[in-house]
């Protein structure tokens, strides 16, 4: 085998090794108490039909308001009503527990992404969600 080809093979092995370490990291996150708490909170939220229905209705209205905003037709009264609706909704116990669990999981994931970004010199979050996240 030519030295160049050996280099390529070696490179592929190193890539595969990094991907395996990525999987090990994902498993460690999956086994962490904050991830388990998040999963439990998510399940509880899904099982709470009342809050779930309200949440879906809220999200539909939120989409409508955002759409109007994007097209320059935002209605301040509607936006205020939506905010008030969110305040009421976020006081329900299941949703509060879910949001708290999500924030705690996010904290640890931010630490992970921050360590990678700092050591590699590329923003991991930005590199991995090129469209700028979920919005």
């Amino acid at each position: 085998m030519s030295p160049a080809k050996q280099d390529v093979m070696h490179g592929v092995d190193l890539q595969e090794a990094a991907l395996e370490k990525a999987r090990a990291l994902a498993r460690a996150v999956g086994e962490s108490p904050s991830f388990k708490a998040f999963e439990a909170a998510q399940e509880a939220l899904m099982a709470d039909r009342e809050v779930n229905g309200k949440l879906q209705a809220f999200q539909r209205r939120q989409q409508g308001v955002r759409f109007a905003q994007a097209w320059g037709g935002g209605d301040p009264a509607q936006e205020a009503a939506l905010e008030e609706e969110w305040r009421t909704l976020s006081r329900t116990a299941t949703l509060q527990a879910y949001l708290r669990a999500q924030e705690q999981l996010r904290d640890i994931l931010r630490v992970v992404a921050g360590m990678i970004s700092q050591e590699i010199g590329i923003d991991y979050g930005a590199a991995c969600s090129p469209a700028g996240g979920c919005c």
């Binding site: 996150v29 108490p33 640890i108 590699i120 979920c134």
Partner: protein, 129 residues
């Protein structure tokens, strides 16, 4: 909550460090590190960067004063194009793209294993969307 600062978190941090070490050994990330170091230390690149910065300042001032000339816009564009053609800049840009693609691949693997998007969850725009 106490639990997140416990063993689970320690294990996650340990796995993160191992992942980073493995990442740094890959050709894509090694190439990026080399290209970045050269970009940051190459005298021609740094000198051109300073000129570009001065150009940008003058451009902005002219824009504010309303004295921006067609010629000035062309000069800035040409200087930027010359900058991008400098070999260390070109290599840095390509190496960053390749490294970015590999990071995306690792994120895909993590997200598949976890059932949750790491980059997006931890990313800057990951708010209440």
């Amino acid at each position: 909550m106490d639990t997140i600062s416990g063993d689970g978190r320690r294990a996650v941090l340990q796995r993160t460090r191992e992942f980073i070490a493995a990442l740094k050994a890959t050709p894509a990330i090694e190439r990026f590190a080399t290209a970045q170091a050269r970009f940051q230390t190459d005298p021609k690149v740094q000198q051109t960067l300073q000129v570009l910065q001065r150009n940008a300042d003058a451009f902005q001032r002219a824009q504010q004063d309303g004295t921006l000339r067609e010629e000035q816009i062309r000069e800035v564009r040409e200087a930027q194009a010359r900058f991008r053609r400098l070999p260390p800049v070109h290599e840095f840009s390509q190496a960053r793209d390749v490294a970015g693609l590999f990071l995306q691949e690792t994120n895909r693997v993590i997200s598949e294993t976890l059932g949750l998007d790491l980059g997006q969850t931890a990313g800057p725009a990951g708010g209440a969307c």
